[in-house]
Symmetry: C3
């Protein structure tokens, strides 16, 4: 634990208007405020906000039958709460959240766990305009036992406080692998999962049955319209304070003229829609790459598709499926040709599925 | 527990676009996905979504004083979670939910209980248009101890996948009694309830005082306007996936031009409004009959009335009151003549009230 | 516990349309319906509705490290649930909630506690119009151990059932001190709080550092737009039934033409916004005075400022800061001159902060 006494000798408090591009240095380390204990209320709200139906996260009977000591919270809820912690220090003055890489879920999180988060600046690249720059960061979330539960890289375009006239060279690491090895994936120790999952979902589609060659495309049948209240409730639940999501009076003067929906809420909606067709997914083990390809606004209706790209056996009980989960808005998901102009999410995720016994 | 191995030999997976009228057969049985553990979060959200105030469900001191081992969840929350499970298999392609019968609450549900649900097709009747048919089903919800906690019949108008040219005869059971005998009602074993309830609610009106002759009409004083976020949060909480409630882009092309509010949310709003005037209701024991007489849309304001129809003594401690709970929208509930054109709900419920000692 | 038997001999039931000014007498006592058990769901919803981030209330690791036996719920959540109980009896026919005084938080409230509330009429003052009067009340909330957890005074303008032609003199107490002595403040027994709070928030600003002379003004950087669903969810969560917040059909004919947002929700939003700049506040110990200076409607964006007025040492571990927390709507909080015309809240609160060791 850090001590106030030592802090007082190195007073570098957060600027009241947040950090700008020129405030960051490669190697700089942030302990983010404020730890957060996960409750049964978070879990219920997550279901109410997204419609999530994965039995691992909503049915204690299933979770314990397959070997969890309790019901683990949804991986995306876990991600958003950890991510929310980083916003005040990393993306308070963000123009856009550009991408994600090497996001790995290292341990399940249960009700009662307290999550805290730290971030290191790993790369910096000023844009040629001189008005903005890209900040590359590695964030790590830990539980109350100081066990690392989640790690991820993201890069964010951040305003400069003052425009720069001199060009600068990129510093640190600004390129990241777009893939994650099977060996880096943490799979929970589970057992008898195929029977328990079949019993819970009724779906007979398991890891063994999936032809993951990139050719199989699932157009998930549901659609979800997002209202202002919905995304603000979600984003406040995650204690994410980015102004763009909440402050209409301010955003009226932005180029959007309205509030932007937190991209993570769109991820969660797509993840929940993807239940239909991939019912036996146990959990998300990793996100290899991700980007919010277009902004989402209140009133938009979100749809999702899954490309099954490849698969690998993790152990005797569990296999991994690489899924390209795309989000689209305001389309006919059954019939339309899906183009980038309507795409709001591109997410390369690694999902875990039981292997048949 | 069903085994995947046996399932694999009889692969009849759910169609990706859901079941249509011609897919159903009398006697067909559905194990619905996915079990759901009730949490303290569900209970708080139910209060936030409806304004429910019955002390049995919001005050542990009252619930335990009258003999419950813990605070039972609101019967309507219980109903909606069980109902939600059935939607993907039964009413995914529904035109309308036409009616309910013989709905009985068989055991209280507590936080931590996991609810799963099964349905049997009991009757089928094709409509003369050849485009739709009515499916009659009996659903049963169970807890983690395989105890039946709720049973109900409903009938739903469902689209045919393809219009039929040949008329068919009704099959199975398509008529249901509109009443439930006192002997079929399950009342929790409670004690000293009149003092505890009086102390909690301040109301001196108990079973003994009520003249239930059908002539007494209570116009409940409150009104509740429903927003899009409200009903979608509720309906997602129940993991009900019916497209009509969520998908504005799709519904713009429907005859309504907008999303429909889940009728069960209207039931819950009416039930919560009915607290004022019937404060000492312990719980809902049964629903004899029910129908959504008109659709409800976001922006509508809901009001409720109760006709006290008849009463019966269940045991020394508890009596039953048959209440016709009607819901209306956008009326002056104090002064207007209430007509069917503004009615949105007709629900014949059997409520339990303490008897005075 | 009150007994129904004795109640039956003195039947003074609540009028179905609520109490009006002429129904109140000085000394009259109300046991409000209905007790409410606080759950983990309430805590999560409070975060989702307000964005609250104080570690005392959202991080079990911090709360227990500084000496709480568990995580105390947010003081404002505590206040709203207690306040909500009083509405049906005190402000159901209110024109406006005029002011608060001597509000003191006497004991922390934890998940599982059941709150009930009682009110005594302490003063009455008819307005010269003869159409309304001001009712002055003292309310007390207790937990399941009959320990007083919260006390406060408020005064409310209430409609007369029938206009009065004769002037009447004020009765009882109609003036209240605008300050609370340090000696009347209840501070929880905590220890090592400065290190634990610094570690959780990263802020080095503690009681010792604050110059509370009334000259220091913090313009908190965030802004929060309130939607209809947001304030209704919050207000229903508190089981507050005031018609003005919920019934659009009725409010269309009011002078506002729309629903009014519960002033307490605005308090909570301002309190949450005030985290940025006053991160190390442990809890709110008291509210010396408060008023809702203008109504707030859906679509308004709320901002907050804090004037640090004075401070006092409560014990070796904790100090009190008197803060004037103002709320404004639809302003540029960084640059605008803040005037009463845009002000929605004026709250004189006493916050507790750790002293440095």
């Amino acid at each position: 634990m850090r001590r106030l006494a030592s802090a007082s000798t190195t007073p570098t408090p957060r600027p009241r208007d947040g950090y700008f591009f020129e405030d960051y240095q490669v190697g700089q380390h942030f302990h983010h405020a404020t730890p957060r204990t996960i409750t049964a209320g978070d879990v219920a709200l997550y279901i109410a906000l997204t419609g999530a139906r994965q039995p691992t996260h909503c049915a204690a009977t299933v979770a314990t039958a397959i070997g969890f000591r309790d019901t683990p919270i949804d991986d995306m809820l876990h991600f958003h709460i950890a991510f929310g912690k980083t916003v005040a220090d990393i993306s308070y003055n963000a123009v856009a959240n550009l991408g994600y890489a090497d996001c790995r879920f290292l341990r399940p999180v249960f009700i009662g766990d307290t999550i805290r988060c730290e971030t290191e600046i790993v790369g910096l690249k000023q844009n040629s305009s001189g008005k903005t720059g890209v900040v590359y960061v590695r964030s790590n979330a830990s539980n109350q036992h100081d066990e690392n539960v989640l790690t991820w890289v993201r890069w964010v375009m951040v305003h400069r406080r003052e425009a720069s006239i001199s060009a600068t060279k990129p510093e640190g690491q600004t390129e990241f692998a777009a893939t994650i090895d099977d060996s880096a994936i943490h799979a929970p120790r589970i057992r008898n999962a195929s029977d328990a999952m079949y019993n819970a979902t009724g779906s007979t589609l398991f890891w063994d049955d999936i032809e993951a060659t990139g050719k199989m495309l699932i157009r998930h049948p549901g659609g979800m319209t997002i209202e202002e209240s919905d995304h603000m409730l979600a984003t406040r639940l995650y204690q994410n304070t980015a102004r763009v999501h909440f402050d209409l009076h301010h955003m009226k003067n932005s180029r959007f003229g309205q509030r932007l929906i937190y991209g993570g809420h769109v991820m969660s909606i797509c993840r929940a829609l993807a239940y239909d067709g991939l019912e036996n997914v146990l959990s998300v083990a990793a996100i290899e790459a991700g980007s919010h390809t277009n902004p989402t606004f209140a009133g938009d209706t979100i749809y999702a598709t899954s490309h099954l790209m490849s698969k690998g056996a993790i152990n005797d009980d569990v296999g991994a499926i690489r899924i390209k989960l795309n989000g689209y808005k305001n389309v006919d998901i059954e019939k339309d040709t899906l183009t980038e102009s309507n795409q709001v999410l591109s997410l390369s995720m690694i999902a875990l599925m039981p292997r048949k016994k």
